[in-house]
Structure formats: structure tokens, C-alpha cells
Symmetry: C2
Subunit: 182 residues, 2 copies
Amino acid sequence: MAKLSADDWIAAAAARFGEHGADAVRIEPLAKSLGVSKGSFYWHFKDRAALLGAVVDAWEQRGTLEIIEGVRAAADDPADQLWALFERTFGTPTSVDMFETAVRSWASQDPHARKLTKRVDRKRLAFVAGLLQAAGIPKAEAKRRAELLYCTLIGEFLQRSYGKQRLDRGSLRSLHRLLLTM
Amino acid sequence: MAKLSADDWIAAAAARFGEHGADAVRIEPLAKSLGVSKGSFYWHFKDRAALLGAVVDAWEQRGTLEIIEGVRAAADDPADQLWALFERTFGTPTSVDMFETAVRSWASQDPHARKLTKRVDRKRLAFVAGLLQAAGIPKAEAKRRAELLYCTLIGEFLQRSYGKQRLDRGSLRSLHRLLLTM
DNA sequence: ACCTGAACACCGTTCAAGT
DNA sequence: ACCTGAACACCGTTCAAGT
């Protein structure tokens, strides 16, 4: 039997976290699925909170930059970039948006997740506001619309977690048009 | 010592549910705070799931109609009604919007909460779509905008739970204007 | 460096017994 | 009709001991 690393625990925990929330991350079942005793967990982590902390840390890494880079590469025109952003966010796979929702629920309970989530939100908001400005919306209004758009996305994620259908192409087109209205 | 009714348990559970989510609703601490043994809980409810079921049932009663009535009474002009709706939803007290978020997280885990939340969402969406139609937006577009608005509200609630500032008057005004754009 | 096994605390659930 | 107290299972956490 190969020995486990902290990363093995984080990967297993992240899977459960994304599917069923922070609460479904339990040491004993995790240990069983990894084929070790639950006691061995405490060699890798101080406690359950430390494991959850590592899970959200890993999310911050990949959650912020990937999409931004993708959007920049996809188009030059700001209106097209906004559409590319829609495709990458509203069109994200279920596993990703479940994770987004799980972090936010957890952020309401846990100070570390809270600080980290706010940082992620701030970066994304700045990016979207910049994009709207580039499309000709005045700065103050661009900030407001960025915040509205971000709320819409987060709300869509949460509602999908209990079975709402994705926003269809028509709704996204309406949103695109409204956000760029002068 | 006065004996307890099922409603006493529901009230105590609803308070914890709204503040810290379904997960914070634990029988033993609840029993302690009510001054009885945890065993007595099982005279009133089949199990923990039944208690949570009763908590969300109570929410459905008051969560759907109160606001709709209030909005209808507040104004006659559809645009003014939309604004009255904003005040009653984006301006809701923290306890209410925490509860809204908690139900939705719970709905992703629990079939009963899921069915019930979808029913509540459907009723509210129909009301908002009707309101936008009355304001002159064509039916199909009114539906799309209602869904977008509802996403925005739910997203705002979730983000507030981890400390985001409320949308300010300026943002709400922008949203109001965009939703009524022809 | 990584793991086991036993121990203890906390909480969900059951149930026989109490008033 | 409503509650207690003891019992058991499950899981978080600790720790001495193993390799």
C-alpha cells in the first residue's frame, strides 16, 4: 500500500465538498474510502477545519485566473469578450458551479473561507467592470452593472444546485444587451 | 415546567436554521436550550429530517404571499410596483435573507425542501413576469427578465451571508432602469 | 515519515419506563 | 400526552505505540 500525502486527502475532500458541501467532508468516511484509519488523518492536518481550509485555498488558485485569461484570448472586441465571459461562466460544468456555491455557504460559517471568497469576488468584479468600461459604459455605472451581473451569476449557481434549468441562450442575449445599454 | 409542543421545537429550530443553516439544527443542543432531554424530541417528530421539513413548510406559508400583497398595495403603476418590490426584497432584513439562502442550500440536499423551494420560486417568478408585462415588456422578454432579476436577488442574498454590502440605491436604480428598457 | 488502535466526547436514534 | 435515562452507533480528536 502506497502511503498518502496531504494532497490525496485534499483531492478526496474537494470532491465531496463540491458535490455535497462542507458538511459532507467527514474524516472517518474519507479515511475509509482512502483505505486508512481515521487516526492517520491527523498526521497530515491539524483538524477538519485545516482540511477544509486547504480545499478552498486550492480553489482560489484555479478559480480566479483561468477564466480571465480565456476571455482575453477569445476576442478583442469588449462586447464579444463579455459574451465569451458568459459562455465560460453561465456555461460552466455542474461540478464547477456546485463548488462555487459550496464555498459561499461555507464562507458564511468560516472566517478563512470568507476572507478568501471576498478576495476572489473582488478580483472578478474588477475584471468585469473593466470589460464594461472598455465597452463604453461610464466607470461608476460599469461598477454597478458588474456587481449586478455577478449577483446574477451567483444566484444562477445556487438555484442550479437544487435543479433549476440553466439560463437559456435567449436570456443570456437579453442580459448581454441590457448590460451594454447606454 | 410547561410541556412543549411541536411548534416550540419548530420555532427553536427555525432560528438556528436561519442563522447557521440546516446543519446547525441539532437535536441535543436544541433539547438542552429548551430544557428537556433529547429523548423527548422523538415524541414530537419522527426524526431530524421531519423537524427540518416542518421548518421549511412554515417558510412556504409566509414566504410567498406577504410580499406580493405588500407590493400590490403599495402602488398602482407597474414601474412603481417594481420599485416597491425592490424595497421589500433587496431591502429585506438580514434574518430573512439568511433564511432564504439556508433553504436553498438545504434544497440541494433534501428532496422535500427542493420540491417546496421550486414551488415558491415558480410563484414568485410568475408574479414578477406579470409585473414586467404590465409595464409594457413583451411576454417572452418579461419572463426572461424576471428570471434574471430573481437570479440577481438570490445571488445578492448568498453573497450577503458572507459579508457583502447590500446593493446600494444607485445599483437598484440602474437595475430598475435596465429591466424596463424597451 | 506515515500509520494503527484504543480511548473519549458529542450527537442521532430507540425504547422501556415514568408522570 | 409528554418526558426521562440508559443504551447503541457514528464521527471528531488525541495519543501512545508501531513500521
